[in-house]
Symmetry: C2
Subunit: 227 residues, 2 copies
Amino acid sequence: MQLIAQIASISLFKGLNTPELEALAMIVTDQSFSRGQHIFSEGDEGVGFYVVISGKVKIYKLSAEGKEQIMHVFGPGEPFAEVAVFAGVNFPANAVALEASRVFFFPRRSFVSLIKENPALAMNMLAELSLRLKKFAHMIEDLSLKEVPGRLANHLLLLADEQDNEKTVTLDLAKTHLASLLGTIPETLSRILSKMGKQGLIESQGSTITILDHDALSDLASGEKRL
Amino acid sequence: MQLIAQIASISLFKGLNTPELEALAMIVTDQSFSRGQHIFSEGDEGVGFYVVISGKVKIYKLSAEGKEQIMHVFGPGEPFAEVAVFAGVNFPANAVALEASRVFFFPRRSFVSLIKENPALAMNMLAELSLRLKKFAHMIEDLSLKEVPGRLANHLLLLADEQDNEKTVTLDLAKTHLASLLGTIPETLSRILSKMGKQGLIESQGSTITILDHDALSDLASGEKRL
DNA sequence: CGCTGCGTTGAGCTTCTTCAACGATCGTGG
DNA sequence: CCACGATCGTTGAAGAAGCTCAACGCAGCG
């Protein structure tokens, strides 16, 4: 059946055999959300976790004044909200579909019993959480040790790497969202992009950015130079 | 034997039976570090993880200009550097003993095989990593959404809570370190402490701080008010 | 066609950092 | 046991980075 195949294609579940995948198929719920729709809110009871099948989901926090910090944007194949499952706490952030999205939901109780029977699944989950932790550590480092141009440069280089394209990068996020992900606001991002353009580091046209001076971006990203 | 008892008292290993604890005792290395001594550096190969037995260990990152961001300070009973074990990567940060410390080291390979045999251990580790993730998420939120006074207020309230003392709090860290943990510098921290004092929120004498206006601190911590 | 969300730009201001100086404390070696 | 150096904490003055507020063009969509 198609469902099993879809579950098997999730990297978190790789290495599982057919009966195990079937067990997962038994407990999963298939959910769809339209653009802008709320998946859960900070403080909701953490009754399970999700895997993005298609679309894009942002996890974010809001300040008292309404400023948003995006913690993560998840795409197809990526699990989110696992923390609530294993720490046994309420969701510590909000989740919204950035575009029409389909997600699989795995309820906590059933999933925990599966994982207890299944060392491979446990190891996959440990690896996943560890990587997440590493990303967060990097984010903390960026926020406190680098200025916005450095964070942006870093992000652009990462994108170039992911997209296998030395020179031309396509922003996968609206600039407003990118600003929030970098821990700043759209105005600041806009100014810095234009400054980078004037100094010949990049060329920016809409969501397409051409990297003109890779080395200068690297220097910015490592905090060795300033704009 | 004493070693087994010490291992058993580590909360990460709670619920394990005697043979399992003995297996851990077989692979552990007992290490001691004096104040200021280096435990590992960013980029070192992640060959295992640690548990603090006594003393205090700080995990931190350095910027290009030498500014430090403390990611975490671990005390007795707390494990650190697990990420390297499960993500199979090099240490992403530096570790130094803040005072004379004793730590247990568990080598990666042996530990991974133990965890594969042992669902309870896996679940404990998952819970541990999840909590860590939650703390980091909170730190990111603080860094990007709150100003320094808010972060400090938050920290003081947390300490008061931990220390079960509504009014009087003892800083467990040198102010220089506290500043680094809050993502700022000693000068700024000092100014804010004195400002909080002038406004009657706290009274600060060395590392002892008396909370005079709990509500005002709460307002600061949630970002609803300013100093 | 108007509306709404996005992106950009300018001016002013707040917050925080930098640089510098100085007093206090603490541990250590003479 | 004292003296010295090092670390720590504090304070002041100046500067930089980024935020707020406001205005405006532009595109997409209902």
